[in-house]
Amino acid sequence: MADTPQAVLDERLKEISPLRRALIRPELGGIIGTIAVFTFFALLAYDSGMFNAQGVMNWSTVSAQFMIIAVGACLLMIAGEFDLSVGSMIGFAGMMIAIFGVTLGWPMWIAILITFAICTAFGALNGYIVVRTGLPSFIVTLATLFILRGFTIFIPQTVERKTIIGGIREAAEGDWLAPVFGGKILTGLFQWFGDIGLIDTFTRGNREGQPVVDGIPMLIVWAIVLIVFGHLLLTRTRFGNWIFAAGGDAQAARYAGVPVNTVKIAMFMFTAFCATVFAVCQVMEFGSAGADRGLLKEFEAIIAVVIGGALLTGGYGSVIGAALGALIFGVVQQGLFFANVESSLFRVFLGVILLLAVILNTYIRRLITGER
């Protein structure tokens, strides 16, 4: 009687072997790529300064920048849409903070909050136009790309007669919200690392004796927070299922009761939010906003997401994969310099990696799912 356990199993449940389960994960390509890239540079650039404290901080910071915008782009892409206005949004958000905080002299926390409000509103507008008109998001956000870039040049030209506005660091001094974006954490720990000789210290100037890397910038903290948030949202919540459903087959999802339009608009807003986080961290760190900030960053976000295994057609992907894609992108971009490769060849290398990643991901997926 008890020798036919299969009979009591639900026919919709199917055993999947652990190997197959591992292979089916979208982040597999990202994991393989990360290992390959680190092995490559460990062999080629091990003594070039790439793996000293300063070098690690350098590529970590650049990767963290990519990660912040990749998390937003990833969730949006899984929901079946694109946002090409990310780069312009970065320049625009930075400029808004400069206008509110420096030109108008408002307290920095108000400037930051209003900028977040304006930018996520632009994200919502992107989403609203896309779901209302049914136009491809590629076209809608391409329009936003130009609109925002135009404002970013026009507004400071009109009010300040220049296109770079400085003085943000000074304006942010003593503010309670600004350090959340521009500060550093664990400074005591790094000072101790410097004291015991684990990290090089400055040899002259008014920072003599301080470690060359004096803490973890909030940019990196934001990247980690956003990755964890995005990953949990996508894999542990009902809303996460809605995102997959909206990107997989929007009509089927609607029949199943998924509020597809709301999901898509929310993801456009989240993408804009991520771009604004990037922008605020940037202006707080560098102290100025420029009209040419963020050029082509939208493609860098998409590249990171695609290397990370997401599908351009939506419905498939992972935040962890996108984060690994961003890490690969950052490490390759910075690492080729340390490895002494002519900088113009960076693009060739990047293109090859992108192509290999997409081919590998597609191949694995077809192998597993049996689709053709």
């Binding site: 350098n58 770079i164 400055f202 420029g290 040419d292 963020g294 050029l295 082509l296 340390f338 900088s343």
Partner: protein, 298 residues
């Protein structure tokens, strides 16, 4: 762009970081200058730039250059707010820094750099303005193709001050696309027919402006001055379309810092002042050598 040291056995390595996007051809002369200096001084040299001209990316490149522990960094100071932090950090680690091309003497002192090699932009614009005033110019249009670079706009301001007129709406944002530049200049000159002079800020804006001026039949008629040299500009000077070109000698801006740093590292010798590589006015009279090396070393 790597010349490997041999013979001296001191393996000196210098990195030049510029703010120029890949599309800016003017910087080709800089690449030639630093390559030749590396060859002649027998040191390793590298050229790095942010591909899109994003200055925040440039700050990361300077941090990256510092992490690789070179003997010296040569960099522009296109935006003090963004770049002063990374440059100062490099100086404090014991890396010698020379600022080239963009920056003011005060800023250069402030970041702790050894010296500045370049053309003080406002002064160059002022000199050009005074010259144009002497030639009877009263109004002008400044064609700015790098509106995001405040330092370059100083040339227009200096020129206006030299003429003794308000800059006002005389500066137009032309963008970088040749066809757009040509159309905007044509549109401006059509709308403002009383304009006496044109000032362009480099080959990017000068080349299409030459075409615009010729198309409108204004060549030789309208007063035309430009910053920087290139093949088209030299031809323009030769055929009388352009009155003069201001050469800030980018070759020297790349070449001299390498020579200065090498001698400083090898023998401890250092010039006592900043080096002005420009302005030098290039007119029809002195075109021989200029023509031969335009776009390469000039």
């Amino acid at each position: 762009m790597v010349a490997v040291a041999d013979g001296h056995g001191d393996d000196l390595k210098y990195i030049l970081v510029s703010h120029a996007p890949d599309s800016d051809s003017w910087w080709n002369t800089i690449k030639n200058g630093i390559a030749l200096a590396g060859e002649q001084m027998d040191v390793s040299v590298e050229y790095r730039n942010p591909p899109t001209g994003d200055l925040a990316d440039m700050a990361r490149i300077i941090e990256q250059a510092a992490a690789s522990q070179p003997d010296g960094i040569i960099t522009t100071l296109a935006d003090f707010d963004v770049l002063s932090g990374p440059i100062r950090a490099a100086v404090d680690q014991g890396i010698d820094v020379i600022i080239m091309n963009s920056g003011t003497p005060e800023q250069v002192r402030d970041v702790g750099a050894l010296m500045f090699v370049g053309q003080p932009e406002y002064d160059a614009g002022l000199a050009a303005g005074l010259r144009a005033k002497g030639d009877g110019v009263g109004s002008f249009v400044c064609v700015n193709h790098v509106i995001s670079n405040t330092v370059v706009a100083e040339r227009c301001r200096g020129f206006a001050d030299g003429l003794g007129v308000e800059l006002g709406d005389s500066m137009i944002d032309s963008g970088q696309d040749p066809a757009e530049i040509k159309n905007r200049v044509t549109a401006y000159l059509t709308a403002n027919p009383e304009t006496d002079a044109i000032l362009t800020l480099g080959p990017t804006s000068a080349d299409p402006t030459i075409l615009a001026v010729k198309d409108m039949g204004l060549d030789g008629d309208i007063y035309f001055g430009t910053f920087d040299l290139g093949t088209e500009i030299v031809n323009g000077i030769k055929d009388g379309t352009i009155n003069w070109g201001i050469d800030q000698q980018p070759f020297l801006q790349a070449y001299l810092p390498v020579v200065v740093l090498t001698n400083y590292d090898r023998y401890g010798v250092l010039p006592g002042n900043n080096i002005n590589s420009g302005p030098g006015f290039v007119t029809k009279d002195a075109l021989g050598k200029v023509e031969e090396f335009a776009g390469e070393f000039r």
